[in-house]
């Protein structure tokens, strides 16, 4: 039994496999936010509301993207499924998960302490945008992917980087940034355009995935093949997914931001 999905070099089978590390991680995330909210309620002298449905949806999406079969296929078999995991972990789950902490819980971040100030700095717009671009680029470089995906610790590192980096990227769009001047709607739209819709990093990666004549990642090129799947077609699909997925999520985010801007200025 494996703790976390990694590239094993074993042929793919549809026989179910357990990845207890994934369950532990999802459980700890749910528990952590629940306890954070309880602490915040005690601190504010209120009672913690039940979990936000968006947070629950985010947890389910995260779980599906990490566990068998998506997790196992994406870790060691198909570049396209690996890309689907990236979309789910960095672009889809984080904005939903960010509905988890209550207003009081976020307000707790305003307190003193170096941990809190690092957290505040990470979720402030400019650092969030920069770290997201750096993480997206680094976690898609062939040398990094081919090395890290071969071990459970390495594969977990990539997954956690995507989730953490995605949370920081989405934070200033969804939650207030404590002690930070208000991030206005037009600036938020620009942020989404630069970080997601026309992200130079994502454009570059998509270009390489779709146009390169030979498959980019060794781990997916030399994995025991699934019947009828061609390594290059798989890489082209990965590139297409990144571009279509990124655009779609950005489009939805911008639409929501426009709607709110309209409503607020009306």
């Amino acid at each position: 039994m494996s703790f976390w999905c990694a590239a094993t070099g074993q042929p793919w089978t549809w026989a179910w496999k357990a990845y207890p590390g994934v369950w532990l991680f999802i459980g700890l995330l749910a528990l952590g936010v629940w306890r954070w909210n309880r602490a915040a309620a005690r601190w504010a002298g209120t009672t913690a509301p039940p979990a936000h449905p968006a947070f629950a949806a985010g947890l389910v999406i995260l779980w599906l993207s990490l566990d068998w079969p998506i997790g196992a296929l994406g870790a060691g078999h198909l570049a396209s499924v690996h890309m689907l995991q990236f979309l789910l972990m960095a672009l889809v789950a984080p904005p939903l998960l960010l509905f988890g902490p209550t207003r009081d819980a976020v307000a707790m971040l305003q307190g003193p302490g170096s941990g809190r100030s690092i957290a505040r700095w990470l979720v402030s717009p400019f650092p969030a945008l920069v770290q997201f671009s750096v993480v997206v680029l680094a976690t898609h470089l062939p040398a990094v992917v081919d090395t890290l995906m071969a071990t459970q610790a390495g594969s977990m590192t990539i997954d956690l980087l995507w989730i953490g980096s995605g949370l920081a990227f989405w934070w200033p769009l969804i939650r207030d940034v404590p002690r930070h001047p208000r991030f206005t709607h037009p600036v938020k739209i620009g942020y989404v355009i630069l970080g997601l819709m026309f992200s130079p990093v994502m454009f570059g990666l998509v270009g390489f995935l779709v146009n390169s004549e030979t498959p980019m990642y060794r781990v997916f090129e030399l994995a025991p093949p699934l019947p009828g799947v061609d390594a290059r077609a798989d890489h082209v699909l990965a590139g297409t997914l990144m571009s279509v997925g990124g655009m779609t999520v950005a489009f939805v985010a911008i639409s929501v931001l426009f709607y709110r801007w309209n409503r607020e200025s009306a």
């Binding site: 070099g9 030979t214 030399l222 025991p224 390594a231 290059r232």
Partner: protein
């Protein structure tokens, strides 16, 4: 270091593993998928012949080699493509019927040639190429479900009838795209020999500079490589540990060294008076295990030394692994007295 693992590779270098001495194209006749005799040497005259031993039920190595070769051929010009013959010799004639071979190969490229024969015929062809004969590996109680352990490298015979390079598992489309056009465009082998000689020289220089060091490749790592300072001018023993951290078995199929003409793996057999050494054709490296070559047991013999070796020298060993491909390791020459310490067999206080 050849090929697939060098970080900063020279754009003009061959990515295949260069053979220490070129291999002449063997002559053999097997049966093609139409049931007709197929003469390898005659059918591939003046062509680049890619020869591979495999089986169609293979989950990994065979379909990957075939898919990667097919993908690269597809992008070559029709003229260049027409100069390449890909030959797949089955090592599982019971399950690989001509119909199945035709269908399976056709999925990759209908021009691929599938060959079969009797078990004895197929084994003699493998022996001609000096690869260990394929063996069945049963996964469970079901006797119809089995894997076939087989050589994982593709032999590339150039148009002049010699194989200068082989392509172990781990070779990528990018590597084929680099090497195939160069093999195809050299009718006489002159350019290939010149390029490989230059590569060998550059590698030797890198060794002298100390750039080459014990290395890992594809989950394989070689450590504690040493050569015992030999009493003889002629031969020396080398010891090392190979860590196979992959889930698959690998096989050490060949050993070469810069300062010796030949290298062999030897095994010490028998007891007392009957004690003697025997060369092993190949050495199986079990998955997730380390294989130690130590004094008194299995070890490497370097034969026909190119010069006398003294303590303080170092020898570069080139190991060919059927799955991981080429691994190069530098082994210092140590006096016999220090051997156990160098091998980590005694704990130093």
């Amino acid at each position: 270091m050849a090929a697939a693992c060098a970080g900063d590779r020279d754009a003009t270098a061959f990515r295949g593993v260069a053979l220490t001495s070129p291999l002449a194209k063997p002559s053999f006749t097997l049966t093609d998928v139409n049931g007709r005799p197929w003469e390898f040497a005659a059918e591939t005259r003046d062509k680049v012949a890619l020869l591979f031993f495999g089986y169609t039920h293979c989950p990994d190595v065979c379909p990957l080699h075939m898919a990667n070769i097919a993908a690269v051929l597809k992008r070559m010009s029709a003229t260049d493509r027409g100069r390449v013959v890909t030959v797949f010799v089955t090592t599982d004639p019971e399950r690989d019927t001509p119909e199945r071979l035709r269908e399976w190969l056709g999925n990759f490229d209908p021009s691929f040639v599938g060959l079969t024969g009797t078990r004895a015929e197929l084994e003699s062809v493998q022996a001609l190429l000096k690869v260990p004969a394929a063996t069945r590996e049963y996964a469970g109680a079901d006797s119809s479900a089995y894997y076939v352990g087989h050589a994982a490298q593709v032999f590339a015979f150039a148009r002049d009838g010699y194989a200068y390079t082989i392509y172990p598992f781990g070779i990528r489309q990018d590597d084929w795209a680099n090497d195939l056009p160069r093999l195809v465009r050299d009718a006489t082998g002159t350019e290939i020999r010149r390029a490989l000689a230059a590569q060998a020289k550059a590698e030797a220089l890198a060794v002298q500079r100390g750039d080459a060091s014990p290395m890992t490749m594809g989950g394989l790592m070689v450590t504690q490589a040493v050569v015992a300072e030999p009493a003889s001018q002629d031969e020396a023993a080398a010891y090392l540990t190979i860590h196979n951290d992959t889930p698959q078995e690998d096989t050490l199929v060949a050993i070469a060294a810069d300062l010796a003409v030949r290298g062999e793996v030897h095994e010490t057999m028998g007891e007392g008076e009957m004690r003697h050494m025997m060369a092993m054709p190949s050495l199986v490296l079990p998955p997730r295990a380390e294989t130690k070559l130590v004094p008194g047991e299995r070890h490497i013999m370097l034969l026909q030394l190119r010069r006398a070796l003294k303590a303080g020298d170092s020898v570069t060993l080139y190991l060919s692994l059927s799955r991981a491909g080429p691994v190069e390791v530098r082994a210092p020459v140590v006096p016999y007295a220090d051997l156990e310490k160098a091998l980590g067999l005694v704990k130093t206080p």
